[in-house]
Symmetry: C2
DNA sequence: GCAAAAGTGTTATTCTTACACCCATGA
DNA sequence: TCATGGGTGTAAGAATAACACTTTTGC
């Protein structure tokens, strides 16, 4: 069962990290951090953060650790995306990459990185990427948009307390289309995934909006069997 | 980047294979083939078919090859399920398994296997499984049921020409609930995924039903970016 | 004719969507 | 008072679901 060949096979874990960052005109921009490769192949080209799997590490742990190490950020959500294993995806070695995707809060991603080889990019304006990472990001974006619509994934982008307009802007930035405020309010209220706190946000130059929080009592709607297990064993991650 | 540890890491590719087999009372039973392990660990226990990744093999190719080798069956559909990598999922070595799931036609699965260590089991009545394969099958079942509802996955179970009642029975067997024949007909007709051939099935002791075929002109509804690529490069698999 | 499944029609209900309009605040 | 977004109401249209009914065959 052990894989041993002339061409050595290595296993890597990479992560597509998403955040909503404040744009020039105060809009929200879906962004992700990339690292510049400092060695061949594809030296100098931007790529997804990634690294090897530790000897006693779970795959998700490896993704989380690598995320923290290279970006200094803490994931609010972490989910496996796909395993990529085309024989020719790396020119030299045979590399199978198990790719995760993650969400981090907008505040944590506000500052830039110390390392000039790590940088934020807008999701709709990426540089050319190394290996098959362009396809990987494309797939991660598709998954993010799909999953947002039938799960309460958006809390990964927000603070514990938020207004419904903030939540709506998360949806609009990710899905890249305007949503009717009234209908959005009803949609999210009837879903039961959100609870009003009674508090109101002051200081706006209009009617003070109510603050909401996510309903921790209610789980996901129709969670898959893997999510059920992981949330029971390690709450907080992979909700 | 190469993973080299005291405890050797091996990469395996396994597959959950689904088929609809004829049950005792002529009903359709969702079934899957399992192989009995002939060595430790878990010697004698039933497990998913699987094996190592070949040096120049794509992950999906490895899954398909292994499927043909151990069961003699040809996959009609093949999709990656998940990568499992818990450090303790195998008692001895560290094994990361990239698991695929597949559909094979009911006719191909009609006969039993020559090898007594390969056997069909009903999906809702499985024996205890080795490693974490029980969880894997549970997840594969969840994916199959979910995906059936928004894709034309059912053709993996059927012949090129079929009646709408046969198609409905596929749905009923997989989803494990009765569907209204009239509503089902309209649902599937308006979806445009199916085309009437004009031919009729004779020999029934009631009104002869029309034969349909799947609409090859129309692609999947909202296919993910990976599926788009694979269907363009190798049509037939992973539709 | 009778049974059985094919195939069609009809209606109630729920979900979605568009959009009008009132409310509460700062300037 | 006005501008601005918060928040509510409403009604048309689409999708869903339950079920009655007609059609065409074999026996």
């Amino acid at each position: 069962m052990t894989a041993q060949f002339a061409r050595p096979l290595s296993l890597a874990v990479s992560t597509v990290i998403f955040s909503l960052r404040r744009g020039a005109d105060d809009s929200m921009v879906l962004s992700l951090p990339l690292v510049r490769r400092i060695r061949a192949p594809h030296k100098g080209v931007w790529a997804l953060p990634g690294g090897p799997l530790g000897p006693d590490e779970d795959l998700a742990q490896a993704a989380g650790r690598n995320l923290r190490d290279t970006t200094g950020l803490e994931p609010r959500y972490l989910e496996q995306l796909y395993a990529f294993g085309q024989p020719d995806r790396s020119p030299d070695n045979r590399v199978v990459s198990i790719v995760y995707w993650a969400l981090v809060g907008g505040d944590e991603s506000a500052t830039n990185f110390d390392d000039e080889n790590v940088q934020w990019f807008a999701a709709d304006n990426l540089p050319p990427l190394a290996f098959d990472h362009g396809l990987i990001v494309e797939y991660a974006l598709w998954r993010l948009r799909n999953k947002l619509e039938y799960s309460r994934l958006a809390h990964g982008f927000l603070e514990p307390k938020f207004t419904l307009a903030q939540l709506r802007r998360v949806y609009e930035a990710v899905l890249q289309r305007r949503l009717d405020p009234g209908n959005f309010r009803r949609m999210v209220e009837t879903s039961g995934q959100v609870v009003p706190t009674g508090e109101h946000l002051a200081g706006t130059k209009h009617r003070p909006p109510q603050l909401y929080r996510f309903n921790t009592a209610q789980g996901l709607i129709d969670p898959d069997p893997l999510t059920v297990r992981t949330t029971l064993t390690q709450p907080g991650v992979a909700s």
